[in-house]
């Protein structure tokens, strides 16, 4: 479990929230490629990236990866990388498409007609990850990933006297910082050598302090002459700016240019530095000391490279008005001397102490630090600030809060979710027949992350309302606590559906676009609907006004005289109308015909599940009581043999039955067992269990693989595990070669009846302790108190101050009598 926690910790740092696109054309593939054009596309000697898409088009829901991939492609294009997506449907002959499932789990990278490599989707979870991973692959030679100190030493040795090296420690591949490093490396790889590692061990070779955050070092290996290569090491400069594209590429530009200039020369040509917003150090000298000052400045230049340029001001050579402007004669009375001007400032700061190398260094370091401190606020959140080390307690480790922070400035259209007030909320309540309100507090990270998707849902629902306005709204309870209180809102977010000017129900489901759309649209439509014509039946079966497959349909087929059954059905329908679409047919040939179509007769309830590929519909014929119908719907509306996923976990778990999970790999020849288990599920003979499956896939990082490995150390596929969440017991299927229905049934019966010897393990305890301790203010106060008391005792000549039981303030020391009129010392009030 430690591994899981560690990883989720890492994930939060790396995660960027996927952007769900809105327009319908985004439900199609971009840069589409036909199979026949694949060879032409990949044959040039440049990097080409292809994703083989295996799903259906148009997309039912926005696909996170596709959206990220599209945006990443725009960026990658700048680096000469072209991308394409190939839709595998109707391309069965394509060698990649025919590789079955695994193809959709990877992105394929080609160069010069050859497949360089596949990158698993799992490591491409956001735009940064896609760009950095692909660039890393493109430049694996130019930017090697070094795994031990020896390798790094080799790289440095190799480059001594030749070129400088930029080496970076990265927390992981695929992060924003990694992307920045790769993008910059792409541009500068012809001038510098690059290397990176993800291990702090390697970084220790050049850093005396422990490295915790992504860091870049500038190793000046070029300055080491080949003669000294064996004895001298490359001077190390740590890059102290934030690792973002703008700042780091500016740094690269700066270190690539000479940073010691003669002021006179620099005046003649418009300096490139003007565009770079760089700090300037002015070194004043006269003709006599010019040579020695120049040599000293060169030294300083290499030390401060990347942070400032040095301009040598020869006061004898320059026109008087120029040197006067620089303060010569007023601020600077003797030479040599130094001054500093931070970018954006018109004022120079002058060094007031003797002109020695140490003094200048200290002076420049001081002014630089001061500048950094002043601009620190903006940079407080960059991990690698040179001065301000953020204590681990203050580093966010809540993945949702982390994402919320990353997207905090993101703009999106909120017109579909108007923010209501104490005036507009009652107005909307009296005007609108149906609307859903999200009551929230704006600092809640879940809400922050969800807000954009909520707006998206609003836009999707606009088209489903009679007046074409969004049926969604929101109330910020931090602005309008009175409105929230009147609606009994005490937790955030709370979603309340108002119908016919009254509170109708609460939405308590997944915070995702489509689930909200489904919930509201079910209320927007007439539900249940009585079907009397063939057209109505057709429309109902096609999913009403929403697209097919969005809802599970529940159709009640009754005889005219079935009043009891009808009543029961209607009650269930009104209870569950926010989850299912209900239809009622009463008697007549149309009802009979429809029943026949579903292989049943009148007085039946049919559940129609478009999305269940194993069982399109299922029928309840007997005992049509309210309880039975409700139970039937709860149990049978789920796919008969579902893939076990985060999305349906809560629904499946709420059945409160042990899970029987088939783990299989798509490449596995014994996938036959899937059919066996599907049949078993359909037979409904194993209703004590939830039969489901997880694909393990090629990727060892996949969810299925992770979970399976927690049950079995060295699993062979396929395999079956029964998990009983209620008592934590695990049962691995013992007969690896025999997946017949009889054997599985016997095994399950054994588990059911509590037969001994079947249990193979149990779920881990799982103690979810805090990741970090809190600040211990009590201890801080105690130690400060003790110190204070000591000071007072000393100042009072050893007189003891009585010790106190509480964490409280001792009496203030008697203050000297104030001068009349000066504010008196305050008495101490309520303090701990």
């Amino acid at each position: 479990m430690a591994a899981l926690r560690k990883c989720s910790w890492a994930v939060l740092v790396l995660t960027n929230l996927a952007v769900f696109a809105t327009a319908t054309d985004e439900n199609l593939l971009f840069n589409p490629l036909k199979s026949k054009d694949l060879n032409d596309f990949v044959s040039p000697p440049f990097v080409r990236v292809v994703y083989f898409f295996k799903g259906e088009l148009p997309l039912q829901q926005p696909d996170r990866f596709l959206l990220n991939f599209k945006q990443a492609s725009d960026i990658l294009e700048d680096y000469g990388v072209k991308t394409a997506t190939l839709h595998c449907k109707n391309e069965a002959m394509n060698e990649y498409c025919s590789r079955k499932h695994s193809v959709a789990e990877s992105v394929f990278i080609f160069r010069g007609g050859n497949l360089l490599l596949e990158i698993q989707l799992a490591s491409m979870f956001n735009i940064d990850a896609i760009v950095s991973n692909i660039l890393q692959m493109v430049m694996l030679g130019e930017v090697p990933i070094v795994s031990d100190e020896e390798k790094l030493q080799q790289i440095m040795d190799m480059n001594k006297g030749k070129q400088d090296v930029l080496y970076s420690y990265q927390r992981a591949v695929g992060t924003l910082e990694h992307r920045v490093f790769m993008e910059v490396a792409f541009v500068y790889s012809n001038q510098y050598a690059f290397a990176l590692s993800t291990s702090t061990e390697v970084a220790r070779l050049i850093s005396s302090t422990d490295v915790r955050h992504p860091t870049i070092w500038y190793l000046q290996c070029k300055s080491v002459s080949p003669m000294d290569a064996s004895t001298k090491s490359c001077p190390v400069l740590r890059y102290t700016g934030p690792i973002n594209l703008e700042t780091f590429s500016k740094y690269m530009k700066l270190i690539s240019m000479p940073n010691v200039l003669d002021f006179q020369e620099s005046m003649l040509t418009k300096s490139e530095f003007d565009d770079l917003q760089v700090h300037r150090a002015y070194i004043f000298t006269d003709a006599a000391s010019y040579k020695s000052t120049q040599a000293l400045t060169a030294e300083l230049g290499s030390h401060f490279i990347g942070s400032m340029v040095f301009l040598i001001v020869n006061v004898n050579k320059l026109p008087t008005y120029v040197v006067k402007q620089l303060g010569y004669g007023s601020q600077v009375t003797e030479v040599p001397s130094a001054a500093f001007r931070s970018y954006g400032s018109n004022n120079l700061e002058y060094m007031s102490v003797k002109f020695t190398e140490t003094n200048i260094r200290n002076f420049l370091k001081h002014v630089l630090d001061t500048f950094n401190e002043e601009t620190m606020d903006e940079r407080l959140y960059t991990d690698n600030h040179p001065i301000f080390e953020v204590p681990p307690q203050e580093i966010q480790d809540d993945p949702v809060a982390e994402d919320a922070y990353l997207i905090r400035n993101k703009k999106f259209n909120t017109t579909s979710i108007p923010a209501l007030t104490d005036k507009t909320f009652p107005a909307m309540l009296s005007e609108k027949n149906l609307f859903l309100v999200m009551f929230y507090v704006q600092w809640d990270p879940r809400t922050q992350v969800f807000m954009e998707h909520y707006a998206e849902a609003g836009r999707m629902l606009e088209h489903m309302t009679s007046d074409n306005t969004s049926p969604l709204a929101r109330v910020n309870c931090a602005d309008w606590p009175d409105v929230c209180e009147k609606n009994d809102v005490i937790r955030y977010p709370t979603f309340i559906l108002f119908k016919n000017h009254k509170r109708m129900s609460e939405y308590q489901d997944r915070l995702d676009t489509m689930t909200v759309v489904k919930f509201v649209s079910l209320h927007l439509q007439q539900n249940p609907v009585t079907l009397t014509t063939k057209a109505e039946v057709t429309q109902f079966l096609e999913g009403g006004m929403a697209s097919t497959g969005m809802y599970v349909l529940v159709l009640g087929l009754f005889k005219e005289k079935d009043t009891e059954e009808l009543k029961a059905f209607a009650t269930v329908a009104s209870d569950l109308r926010h989850r299912f679409m209900f239809g009622i047919m009463k008697g007549g040939s149309l009802a009979e015909g429809t029943a026949q179509y579903f292989g049943t007769g009148l007085s039946s309830v049919v559940i129609i599940k478009e999305q269940d590929k194993d069982e399109g519909f299922t029928v309840l014929k007997d005992d049509l009581t309210q309880g039975n119908i409700a139970k039937f719907i709860e149990e049978s509306s789920l796919p008969v043999f579902p893939a076990l996923e985060p999305e349906n976990f809560v629904a499946l778990r709420s059945l409160k039955k042990p899970f029987v999970i088939l783990f299989f790999s798509v490449d596995n020849s014994k996938v036959e067992v899937r059919k066996v288990m599907t049949e078993m599920a359909k037979s409904r003979q194993f209703n004590d269990f939830v039969l489901c499956y997880m694909e393990v896939g090629m990727n060892s990082n996949s969810m299925g693989s992770f979970i399976l490995h927690s049950y079995i150390d060295e699993p062979s596929l396929p395999t079956i595990v029964t998990v009983n969440h209620d008592n934590g017991k695990l049962y691995n299927y013992p007969m690896g070669n025999d997946f017949s229905k009889q054997s599985i049934s016997k095994w399950l019966q054994g588990i059911s009846s509590g037969k001994a010897g079947l249990q193979t393990g149990e779920l881990k305890d799982g103690k979810w302790k805090p990741l970090l301790p809190a600040y211990d203010f009590l201890a801080m106060i105690d130690s400060e108190e003790a110190e204070y008391r000591k000071e007072v005792e000393e100042s009072m000549g050893g007189g003891r101050i009585p010790s106190r039981s509480g964490g409280t303030a001792p009496k203030p020391i008697p203050m000297p009598t104030s001068e009349p009129g000066t504010p008196p010392q305050p008495s101490i009030h309520t303090e701990l």
Partner: protein, 608 residues
């Protein structure tokens, strides 16, 4: 015609009955509130809302009559901050020092005056509207005297016409109504703040001595300054500046004009001496001051005669501005209400932290006369403070007399963080009554749910159950506090040094069991609660916006986590899923069937 006669007859009979009141049975009320000032009305409002049998007795013919006379110079010094840039009504009460608590938005002082310091007449109008709009029961022109015990459970009192009233519970909201006049020689040559002339012409070319360094003294000086030769302000000890002490009863900047003229050498001045040791002698029109044992003596060190005594020149006018005190004459001997015993608190009745008189069960106090509890500490003596303590009293009475537990909210512990952050950012009662009222979080045994009550007098923490009807052992107390000043004297805002915050900031005290009565009684000076198991300071914020994700919320989460030893991070559904599939127990945010998990956030398919 007939009905008319009947009516006349009936009226006639009424007149007779009125004449015979002395013999009639007493009017009986569950609650008798004496005084229709702001606190009496505020308490009346809550009793009214609770549907209780109550009546407010008012001596004059108007609500808030004190404010018809005071402040004498007619400008309130309680701020009427009409705009804050926020719409949150609870938050805005943090900056509205005049309005009473009400669910009627029209009863906000900002609708009554545009002045930052409103005219006192406006406040009287406000209190009259407050009474009427809420239909609060007030019996005007009824001067209550002779409050006495009727029996073990009831009180009886009378008015000026000898009508008697039987009261289950008496609540005294008469404020501090008597001017404080110390005894010293020549007091007859002085006038009081309460009866001084308000005609500036009377001070034209006069030399004035004002006794008392409080707001009324300085307010008086400001008012007549333009007419006088000069003004001296005399007090026993040095004035204290409210902005410096955070105590609004100290000298407010709005009144300190005389400090300006004094220190800019414009003849005015402030001097220190004890009134009781002085003697005021009138010679002609002038009032001379002698200080026995000083004026005739010599400097001890030099043994030279004193010829430069500050008070050697006589004054034309001497004004006493020495404050007010509680009028104990209200009570019969059977109701023995004692004055406060601690120095400086003698002007208040001695009461418990439940606002009940010591040794007189059933007799309660409300408003400024309860200020002994937080004198020089918080705002309980002022409208913006006692409007909350009046609500507290109403809750105490509801439980004491009707067994109605304090209003509370019970929720899964996963909601606590948001709940606390919301209170940090808007709660006005704990903000105004800092260090006195605090929110209390109680926990079920397995900590899956918490119960939250607001604005509890933290000094009663050991009596939590008997005062509120809520039972708990483990408790979290959330109060607002100013920082200790000896470390930093300016705003800091460093989260890791939040305990050194200079400004008002939230502080959380965690107790795994309720402190004992002994611990509460033996509080050391300067502390509001006994030593807790753990404490957390949320760092002060320049904008008083405590929603910074890391500095405020993250560190608060870590504190809650450390109290409960559990991981309270929000997780995506895939993280919850992999946790649930591999462990028997999941972290609190992923609890099966919990609200948080039902409303799961899709994201991060990275299982591992």
């Amino acid at each position: 015609m007939l009905p008319h006669i009947v009516l006349v007859l009936w009226l006639y009979m009424q007149v007779i009955t009125i004449n015979c009141t002395a013999n009639l049975p007493a009017l009986k009320k569950d609650y008798c509130i004496i005084g229709a000032g702001p606190s009496g009305l505020q308490l009346g409002y809550f009793l009214h809302k609770a549907g209780r049998d109550y009546l407010i007795f008012e001596r004059t013919n108007s609500s808030g009559a004190f404010f018809m006379d005071y402040p004498r110079h007619r400008t309130m010094i309680s701020i009427n901050k009409r705009n804050t840039g926020k719409t949150n009504k609870e938050f805005n009460l943090r900056h509205d020092w005049n309005s009473l608590l009400s669910d009627d938005d029209s009863l906000q002082m900002r609708h009554y005056s545009h002045d930052f310091f409103p005219h006192a007449d406006v406040f009287v109008k406000y209190l009259q509207d407050y009474t009427e709009k809420h239909g609060i029961n007030v019996k005007y022109n009824t001067n209550i005297v002779n409050v006495k015990r009727r029996d073990k459970f009831e009180f009886q009192m009378q008015d000026q016409s000898n009508n008697t009233y039987d009261c289950g519970t008496v609540i005294v909201g008469t404020g501090l109504s008597l001017p404080n006049i110390p005894s010293f020689k020549g007091v007859e040559h002085t006038v009081g703040y309460e009866d001084m002339s308000m005609d500036k012409a009377d001070y034209e070319g006069k030399t004035v001595l004002i006794m008392g360094k409080g707001n009324s003294g300085f307010e008086t000086a400001d008012y007549i300054m333009g007419a006088t030769n000069f003004i001296h302000i005399l007090s026993r000890t040095q004035y204290k500046l409210a902005w410096n002490t955070h105590y609004v009863g100290d000298l407010r900047a709005v009144n300190n004009g005389l400090l300006d003229t004094y220190l800019l050498k414009s003849l005015d001045g402030v001097l220190y001496s004890e009134v009781e040791k002085m003697k005021f002698v009138k010679i002609g029109d002038k009032i001379h001051i002698t200080q026995p044992g000083k004026s005739n003596s010599t400097h001890r060190q030099s043994r030279r005669p004193v010829d430069n005594n500050d008070l050697r020149e006589p004054y034309d006018v001497v004004i006493r501005c020495l404050g007010f005190k509680f009028d104990f004459s209200l009570f019969d001997k059977s109701v023995h209400v004692e004055p406060g015993r601690i120095k400086g608190k003698e002007k208040y009745p001695a009461i418990t932290h439940s606002y009940e008189a010591f040794n007189v069960p059933g007799l309660f106090f409300t408003g400024t006369n309860t200020h002994s509890l937080d004198h020089k500490k918080s705002a309980g003596g002022f409208i913006h403070g006692f409007r909350y303590t009046a609500r507290v009293l109403s809750r105490i009475l509801e439980f004491r007399n009707h067994n109605v537990s304090w209003p509370s909210v019970t929720q899964p512990t996963t909601e606590l963080l948001n709940h606390i952050v919301k209170r940090f950012n808007e709660a006005s009662g704990t903000y105004q009554m800092y260090g006195v009222l605090g929110d209390i979080v109680m926990f079920s045994r397995n900590r899956t749910v918490y119960t939250y009550i607001e604005e509890f007098p933290v000094n009663l923490l050991d009596q939590l159950r008997t005062k509120t009807g809520h039972d708990t052992e483990e408790v979290l107390v959330i109060i607002m506090q100013y920082g200790k000043r000896r470390f930093f004297k300016k705003f800091t805002g460093i989260p890791g040094k939040a305990h050194l915050s200079y400004f008002l900031h939230p502080v959380l005290y965690y107790y795994d069991e309720l402190p004992s009565r002994g611990a509460m009684r033996n509080l050391t000076e300067g502390s509001v609660l006994p030593r807790p198991m753990k404490v957390h300071h949320t760092v002060e914020d320049f904008l008083t916006d405590f929603t910074a994700p890391n500095s405020h919320i993250l560190l608060l989460r870590r504190f809650l986590e450390s109290c409960f030893q559990t991981d309270l991070r929000n997780l995506y559904d895939s993280q919850c899923f992999s946790m649930a599939m591999t462990s028997e127990v999941v972290s609190s945010m992923c609890q099966y069937n919990d609200y948080q998990l039902k409303m799961s956030l899709p994201g991060e398919r990275q299982g591992s």
